[in-house]
Symmetry: C2
Subunit: 95 residues, 2 copies
C-alpha cells in the first residue's frame, strides 16, 4: 500500500467532513450525547475495522471519541485510511 | 466524593497490579493478542463503567489498551476510581 503525498492527502480530505491531516495521520473528533452512545458507535466501527483489517488509534472520554488513522507499514497515510474514514463517516451519518 | 491525598493514592495502588499515579490520574496499559480481544474486553469494561456511572479516559491502538481514571468533579483521584480499577482488574483476570 503506497504512502500518499501531502497534496494527495489534502485533496482526498475534501471528500470527508471534519477530518484533518496532522502529525502523519488523518484525524477527527466526534461528540455524542453520552458514553453509551459513544461506545455503541465505537462497537459498530470496531466491526468495520476488523472487516477491513485496519485499525485506528482512538481515544474515548465519556461522550467524546477522537480517531487517528494512518498505515503503520507505509509509515504514513494510504488509501486504506481513507477507505476506513469513509466507512466511519457512513456509520456516524446512519445514526 | 472526596479527593484522595497522594499518600492515600499510593497506599491504595498497592492493592492493584500494574497501575501508576501520574498527572492527577491512576493509569495502566494492557496488551492483548489482537484488536478483537482488546475491543471485546473494552466492551465488558464499558458495561461496568456504565453500571458504576464512572467513565475512563481510554485509548486503544490495535492490541493495546491504555486507561486513565480520575474524578472530574473532585479534580483528582477518588474512591470511585479505585472501585472501577478493581472491577477492570477482575474483568482482565477472568479472561
Amino acid at each position: 500500500m503506497k504512502k500518499l503525498s501531502d497534496s494527495e492527502i489534502n485533496e482526498k480530505l475534501q471528500d470527508l467532513e471534519g477530518w484533518d491531516y496532522n502529525n502523519g495521520a488523518i484525524e477527527t473528533t466526534f461528540e455524542f450525547h453520552n458514553f453509551k452512545e459513544a461506545f455503541s458507535t465505537m462497537t459498530r466501527i470496531a466491526f468495520e475495522c476488523e472487516a477491513q483489517n485496519h485499525h485506528p488509534d482512538w481515544q474515548n472520554v465519556y461522550n467524546t471519541l477522537s480517531i487517528r488513522l494512518n498505515t503503520h507499514d507505509a509509515d504514513g497515510v494510504t488509501e486504506k485510511d481513507f477507505k476506513l474514514a469513509k466507512s466511519i463517516e457512513e456509520i456516524i451519518e446512519s445514526e
